[in-house]
Symmetry: C2
Subunit: 145 residues, 2 copies
């Protein structure tokens, strides 16, 4: 399961993706639109900012914009920043590989093998799914009435 925080992050990013690129959106507005507690959202946006996914403008009329084109921001990246690796076990992670403390023989671990398959399938989907894909999906699902 994703954390609530990661779901908030995805919603906030999707909101930003739907806005004109260079009109900073304020945390209060994003929080309202995405249904996220404002102070909690601020922490989330700071994390995303530190990794370059959003760009911030300080001071009056400041706010947040996407740091890159929506087509270059993948679900996978957002989730990894907030929740950590996609894999079901550290030993099956590519971005944050770590040997299991209590693993006796990784080479023959049949559990690990299955978990790597899952991690690859998950990454394949989430690394190919960008914010612009999501916007397109949304338009498709709810045709302009």
């Amino acid at each position: 399961m994703l954390s609530q925080k990661a779901r908030y992050a995805l919603r906030a990013m999707l909101h930003l993706a739907a806005k004109p690129k260079d009109e900073p959106q304020q945390t209060a507005d994003i929080a309202d639109a995405a249904g996220v507690p404002r102070k909690f959202l601020e922490q989330i946006l700071l994390d995303l900012k530190r990794r370059g996914l959003v760009y911030s403008v300080r001071g009056r009329n400041g706010g947040y914009q996407l740091g890159r084109d929506p087509k270059d921001i993948e679900f996978a990246e957002i989730i990894r920043i907030i929740d950590g690796p996609l894999a079901l076990s550290p030993c099956a992670s590519r971005t944050a590989y770590r040997r299991c403390d209590d693993c006796t023989d990784e080479a023959t671990c049949a559990i690990r093998k299955a978990l790597i398959d899952v991690r690859n399938a998950t990454a394949k989907i989430l690394e190919r799914h960008s914010l612009s894909d999501a916007l397109a999906d949304r338009r498709k699902m709810k045709p302009a009435a």
Copy 2:
């Protein structure tokens, strides 16, 4: 990420799968072989027993056996029992669907759509991966020397 408990459960089940079907294995032995704290393992096995994955024999010389043929016990089932649904969000789960509390429009939720794709891919792998598959993998990886 799977919980430690789920990893323990997979290891314990794999250990049982490698043993003759009708020789009850004792928790102390399984715990030792699978590297799981004994009392913690007992809880895990009880959960698995309640769902029919293992069968127990009480009293002296008692112990645990698989409740079904290893080929009919899937990783997915073990993980679901211990950790709950495979999906990344309740709204993307098939076995434990629940609407997101704060979801405004599920029909057009582009996040949900991606998460459903992930859940389907994950389930496809883990529902087709049985304990006997895992034993076969292990033999393949470590040919009888």
